[in-house]
């Protein structure tokens, strides 16, 4: 496991140590420093094994071009290795500077790093994980409670809401997501129509294509795709923005100014997304239907009037089943994003972790809730 040192190390003359048996001298040369000493340090053990036991060895460093603390450590290692063989090292020929450096290193004393804190055994690990999960769940409940108890009174006194922040967030989360959501749902409408159209054509059933596109798009595809795109785009940005504010102590600054971070940072985002996501979903539905009907008309020669008639004959419940999910998804995405942001403690790496976690969690919950909705609606016969 030998890593290649950086190119900058190539400019050093490697440190060398040669044993002159006839005079009993260890002759050092080269750069005895951090960048020149690596090779010698690896071979030191082997090199000194040729020095006879119980001998008196003189260290000659006249040809050493540069010595730093790493070099001084090396000299001490040479001494220790020789001592282990019963030999003694005479360092009197070292220059004053070198002596001082070695003294400095010796003065510091014990240099072996303290043992790392012991790792947890499996049982402790299970315990710790359980406690973590529980305290996480508790934190989530506290956060949820705080947001709800602060939002409800505000909703009864809407003039106290921070409308400017809300409007800004609606713009950031809503209007700026329009192009990507529109394009994706259009393309998925195209793909669904095309894939199912081929099969339906074999049975001569392409006339049912608009029904199928309508039901899939309105009930499932548009709300789900929109929520997933928004979770990746907006939920993550909430986590990153609030997380960074935690790292730079901006959240603490808000608290110290008696401004609730929940009221200032979380509630506007949650409300904004609850407004923006249903609007985006409606647009996504339109784009999905457009993509699907376009394919039915272009590829499967379905008369446009027939297609539109069949679409408008669909029960309205399909639209309502789809749209009612959007505000729920919005709440989940915004709350997870904000909560992950507020969970950041101190370090830059935490922000990255929280951002990733917010997206994964948001998408997980969106799909899970969608499944719950699907089962509930089918039981209700909607």
């Amino acid at each position: 496991m030998h890593r290649k040192p950086s190119t900058a190390a190539a400019t050093r003359t490697p440190a060398l140590l040669t044993w002159q048996a006839e005079t009993g001298v260890l002759l050092a040369s080269g750069d005895w420093d951090a960048r020149g000493g690596g090779d010698l340090a690896e071979r030191l053990d082997k090199l000194l094994s040729i020095v006879p036991k119980k001998s008196h060895v003189q260290l000659n460093t006249q040809q050493v071009s540069h010595m730093d603390t790493a070099g001084a450590l090396l000299v001490l290692q040479v001494r220790d290795l020789l001592q282990a063989r019963g030999a003694t090292l005479d360092q009197s020929a070292l220059s004053d500077d070198q002596q001082e450096l070695i003294e400095l290193v010796q003065r510091v004393g014990e240099l072996t790093p303290p043992a790392e804190p012991p790792r947890l055994n499996p049982l402790q690990n299970i315990g710790k994980t359980t406690l973590d999960v529980l305290s996480n769940a508790y934190d989530t409940l506290v956060f949820l409670g705080e947001v709800i108890t602060r939002t409800l009174p505000l909703l009864l006194q809407p003039w106290r809401l921070r409308w400017r922040e809300i409007v800004n967030e609606i713009q950031a989360a809503g209007s700026r997501s329009v192009p990507i959501v529109a394009l994706l749902t259009f393309l998925i409408g195209v793909v669904i129509a095309y894939q199912s159209g081929v099969t339906m054509q074999q049975y001569g059933a392409t006339v049912f294509l608009p029904d199928m596109i309508g039901i899939i798009t309105l009930r499932e595809m548009a709300p789900l795709i929109t929520a997933i795109v928004v979770a990746g785009r907006t939920g993550s940005s909430y986590a990153a923005a609030i997380g960074t504010m935690k790292v730079t102590q901006e959240v603490d600054a808000l608290r110290s100014l008696a401004i609730s971070p929940i009221e200032m940072l979380v509630i506007p985002r949650v409300l904004a997304l609850t407004v923006a996501l249903p609007l985006l979903t409606v647009m996504a539905m339109a784009m999905g239907l457009y993509g699907g009907v376009l394919i039915a008309y272009e590829m499967f020669n379905l008369d446009i009037n027939v297609a539109l008639t069949r679409l408008s004959a669909l029960p309205h419940s399909h639209f309502w089943v789809g749209i009612v999910k959007a505000p729920v998804f919005a709440l989940v995405i915004a709350m997870i994003g904000c909560h992950e942001g507020m969970k950041v403690r101190g370090s830059a790496a935490d922000v990255g972790r929280s951002t990733t976690s917010s997206v994964v969690q948001a998408i997980f919950w969106v799909i899970l809730i969608d499944a719950v909705f699907a089962v509930t609606f089918s039981k209700l016969g909607l």
Binding site: H2, R3, P5, S6, T7, A8, A9, T11, D33, A34, R35, G37, G38, D39, A41, E42, D68, T69, A70, L73, L74, Q77, D97, E100, L101, L104, V105, V108, G109, E110, L111, T112, P113, P114, E116, P117, R345, G346, S347, A348, A349, D350
Partner: protein, 257 residues
């Protein structure tokens, strides 16, 4: 401890000639000259907005000046290629004002990072060297496995110093090393820097606002004003100066004497 003032004929390690820094139409430095000899401890002083940090960034090769030459350790930085610049950078140590420790690494890993990247020392020697720098910087051994967010402000400064010392730099740049430290800790830090200078023969160049450091902790003070180094002399001399900026700087601050 032998507190030797550097000899007059010591070689220059930092030579700045005709340096200018401009940001758009805003001129921060104009025709600035500075020459620092080996083994001295220098304080860079000046009011807010006089471009102390910009000058420091010029010197540590993080930002090239708009015009002018910077010679470090005898090499003209403008003529060096990337490899030579990197090699030169390894001979400089920089301690950031806020520490800039890598939060995902422990203190020992922070100090060992330059050793891992730029040397091929075996792991045990690397760790001993890392511990040596941690202890030299005045941290207890049990701080080695702590994360930066578990350290107090003073310990962060010391850990940052330990990382700056990792490769035994020839010039050590410190950005406000004593800011945020209590007076006792600040004096101890000054003493430590001077001791390291004496023991390792390094040149120390620090930005500071700490009047006690300026008066007692350094050999010479470079005073930035009017877009250049207005004065470069021991603090005692600067206090006698009649230049309005210097009078203002030294007289509006409460001294403890």
């Amino acid at each position: 401890m032998n507190h030797h003032t550097p000899a007059q004929d010591a070689p220059a390690v930092i030579e700045v000639h005709g340096l200018s820094n401009r940001f758009g139409s805003k001129v921060v430095h104009e025709n600035l000259d500075l020459c620092v000899t080996k083994g001295s401890v220098i304080a860079l002083v000046g009011g807010s907005g006089t471009g102390k940090t910009v000058l420091l960034n010029n010197l540590v090769l993080l930002r090239p000046p708009t015009t002018g030459t910077v010679r470090l350790l005898g090499q003209d930085t403008a003529t060096l290629n990337l490899e030579q610049l990197q090699a030169l950078q390894l001979r400089l140590g920089l301690m950031f004002q806020m520490g800039a420790l890598f939060t995902s690494l422990s203190v020992l890993e922070n100090v060992c990072l330059p050793l891992i990247e730029h040397t091929d020392l075996p792991k045990n020697l690397r760790e001993e060297l890392g511990m040596l720098k941690i202890r030299l910087a005045g941290l207890p051994a049990d701080a080695a496995h702590k994360r930066p967010n578990e350290l107090s402000g003073g310990m962060v400064k010391r850990a940052a110093l330990a990382r700056a010392l990792a490769l035994d730099p020839e010039i050590l740049f410190l950005d406000e090393p004593t800011s945020g430290l209590d007076p006792v800790g600040a004096r101890a830090f000054d003493a430590l820097v001077n001791e390291l200078r004496d023991l390792l023969g390094i040149t120390v160049f620090q930005i500071t606002h700490d009047l006690d450091s300026i008066l007692h902790g350094v050999d010479k003070v470079a005073f930035l004003a009017r877009k250049k180094v207005l004065a470069f002399a021991p603090a005692a001399e600067l206090m006698q100066s009649k230049e309005p900026e210097l009078v203002e700087y030294f007289n509006t601050r409460p001294t403890q004497e």
